[in-house]
C-alpha cells in the first residue's frame, strides 16, 4: 500500500484528453493494488498564459515540489509559433520547469510493436530487434544558454555551454542503464565541429573506465540521423546533449509507426516528470481522437519510478493487449478506430 501525491499538468491541445486517460489507468492501478494516488492539478503552457499571463505560475512550481511526481500532457499553441516577437511563449513554461526542478535526464525508450509493423515507415527488416533508449540531457546546452538579439535587430545569438558536472550526471544514468541492458552506449555528438561535443567526448571517455562492462561508441549526429533509419538495431543506450536529443529522439519515436505511442521520463535529484513525446497536436484537440498511449506509458514509467514495477508491467501489458486486439485510435486505424476516452477505459478495465 503506497500513498503518492501526483501533480498533474494537463497543458495544451490534446494534453488534457490524454492526461485524463492516464489518470483513469492510475486509478485502476491504485484500486486493484491497494495504493492511494492523490492528484493536484496545476497550470503550464498556453493554458497558463491564457489564465494567468504566465507560462509557469509560481503555484505550479510549489505544487510540483510538494508532489512525489508530475504527470504532464503536452505544450504549445500555433498562435505563438509564427510570432517572432511574442514576449511570452508556452514552451518557456516547460523549459523553466525542467530547469527549476533540475530534471536533467530525459529518458525516451523506443519500442517496436509487432502488431503495428505495417504502420512503420520502415521496411520490416529494418525494424527487427530494435530496442533502444535515449538519454537526453535536458537542462543545459543551447536551450538554456544566453540568448540575445542585437539592439538594431540585425543579428541574434544563442549560446551552448556544458560543464563537466552536467555531462557526468546524465552520463552516469546512461551508463547504469546500459549495464542492465545490452551493455552498449553510443554517445551522439558533433566533436569534429563543436567544442562542447569535444568536452562530452572527453568526459564520457573518462567515465568509461568506471563501467568496463559497457562498450562505448562515438557517433556524429549527422551520421546518427542516418543510422537511426538504416540500422536502428545497432543502438542500445544513446547518450546525447539537449538539442541533438530533441531531434534524434523524435526521429526514433516514429520508427514504430506512431509518435502517439512514445513515452518519456524526465528525472533529476528532486522529483521526476512524465510526459508523452508528442506535442499538443492542436488540430485534434477536443475531438476525442488523440492517442492516449504515449501518456499512459509515461504513467507506467512513473509507476516504475515509484518502485511499482509489477504495476508498471501490468499497464504495459494492457497497452500491448489493446494494440494486439486492434483497439486503436484514429492515428493508427483511420477507419476502425476507438475514441481516446474509450481506449483509456479499456486499458483501465484490463488493469
Amino acid at each position: 500500500n503506497m500513498k503518492k501525491n501526483i501533480a498533474v499538468i494537463l497543458g495544451d491541445g490534446i494534453g488534457p484528453e490524454v492526461t485524463q486517460q492516464s489518470i483513469k489507468v492510475l486509478n485502476a492501478v491504485a484500486e486493484y493494488y491497494g495504493h492511494d494516488f492523490n492528484y493536484k492539478f496545476c497550470l503550464m503552457g498556453a493554458d497558463a498564459i491564457d489564465k494567468t499571463g504566465n507560462p509557469l505560475p509560481d503555484e505550479t512550481i510549489e505544487v510540483c515540489l510538494e508532489s512525489d511526481a508530475i504527470l504532464f500532457g503536452a505544450i504549445g499553441d500555433p498562435k505563438y509559433d509564427n510570432d517572432p516577437n511574442a514576449k511570452v511563449r508556452p514552451e518557456q513554461g516547460l523549459l523553466k520547469i525542467r530547469k527549476v526542478l533540475q530534471l536533467y535526464g530525459n529518458i525516451r525508450p523506443t519500442t517496436i510493436y509487432p502488431s503495428l509493423q505495417h504502420l512503420s515507415p520502415l521496411n520490416p527488416k529494418h525494424l527487427e530487434d530494435v530496442d533502444l533508449v535515449i538519454y537526453r540531457e535536458l537542462t543545459g546546452g543551447i536551450y538554456f544558454g544566453k540568448k540575445e538579439t542585437s539592439a538594431d535587430g540585425n543579428s541574434a545569438t544563442d549560446t551552448c555551454t556544458y560543464s563537466v558536472e552536467e555531462i557526468e550526471r546524465i552520463a552516469h544514468l546512461a551508463f547504469k542503464a546500459a549495464q542492465i541492458r545490452r551493455k552498449k552506449l553510443t554517445l551522439i555528438d558533433k566533436a569534429n565541429v563543436l567544442e562542447t561535443s569535444r568536452l562530452w567526448r572527453k568526459v564520457v571517455q573518462g567515465l568509461a573506465i568506471q563501467y568496463t562492462d559497457v562498450t562505448v561508441d562515438y557517433m556524429f549526429v549527422d551520421n546518427a540521423a542516418m543510422q537511426m533509419i538504416l540500422n536502428p538495431k545497432q543502438f542500445d543506450v544513446i547518450l546525447t546533449e539537449n538539442m541533438f536529443g530533441d531531434i534524434i529522439s523524435d526521429e526514433a519515436s516514429v520508427l514504430n509507426g506512431s509518435l502517439g505511442l512514445a513515452p518519456s521520463a524526465s528525472v533529476g535529484n528532486i522529483t521526476a516528470l512524465f510526459e508523452p513525446i508528442h506535442g499538443s497536436y492542436p488540430q485534434a484537440a477536443g475531438k476525442d481522437i488523440a492517442n492516449p498511449i504515449g501518456c499512459i506509458l509515461s504513467a507506467a514509467m512513473m509507476l516504475d519510478y515509484f518502485g511499482l514495477h509489477k504495476e508498471a508491467n501490468k499497464v504495459r501489458a494492457a497497452v500491448s493487449w489493446t494494440l494486439d486486439n486492434k483497439f486503436v485510435t484514429k492515428d493508427i486505424d483511420p477507419i476502425n478506430f476507438y475514441f481516446t476516452s474509450t481506449l483509456g477505459e479499456l486499458i483501465a478495465d484490463y488493469v
Copy 2:
C-alpha cells in the same frame, strides 16, 4: 566550346578514388562536347595535415580562387575524432575553405531511383513522389561562432550567431529554387526555443512577400526529423541553418537507399565547390569498392553551374542507365558488384 579551370581536392579516405571517376566523366564530357577542362590538384584535410601540417594550406586557397570551380572528394580521419585534445583536425580545412570562399549556400537534392527502391530503409509507399532539395546555410551558425573551453577545463562553449544578411542571401537562393520547382518552401528551425531561429523566421516571413507565388511553411527541426521519414513527399525546397541542415540532409540522403549517391553543391558569390555528401569512409579506402556516383553527380551539378545543362543531363542519364542495368558498387549489391573504377569508366563511356 568552353574552357574551365577546375581545382581538384582529392581529400581523405575514399575521396581520391571517387574524385578520379568524376574526372574521367568530366573528360568524356569535354571530349564529346568539345570543351576544355583543366585540373589543378591541391590538398585539404588529413591528407594536407600529413603532408604540410596544415588542414588547408594557403596554396590550396590560391588555386581555388584562380579556378572556375572546385571538385572535392571527402574529409576526415578517425585518428582525430576520438582525440578531444587534437590541435589540428581535418574538418578545420573544410570549414575554413567554406568560410574563406564564402560558400554560403549548400544545395543537396534528394532523388529516388525506382531501380533501387528495394534498398531503401523506407516502405515503397513512403517514397512515392519524393523530390526535394535542401538549401543549407553553410558559413554561419554554431559552426563558426566563438568556441572556448574554460581555463580549468571545466566547461566548454559554442556560440551560434546569425545576421539578417546571412539569412537573406541563402533564403533568396531557396525562394528562387522553389519558384522553378513546386513552389513550396519549408523553413526548418527551432523557433520555440532559439533566438536565432526566431530571426530566421522573421527574415523569411519578410522575404515571402517578394515571392508571392511560393507557399511558405515553418517546421520545428524535431518534427522535421520525423516528417522526413513519415511523409518526405510533402517537401519541395527546404531552407535551414547550418547545423540543422547537416543533420536533416544526411537523414534525407539515405531515403533512396544509399548515401553513396548523394551529391552537393556549395555556392557563393566568388566560386562554387562540388562534393558528395558521404564522408571519407576509411574502412573502404583503397579497395576500389566505394560508390563514385555521389561524386559524379556532384560533377554534374558543376556542369549545371557552368551553364552546361545538356552535358549535366547527359551525365545524369548515364548514372540512371548504370543503376537500371545493375552496374552498381558493393554498397548497392554486395554480391554482384562492379569496382569504383569500372563504374567510372562505364559512365564515361556512356557519355
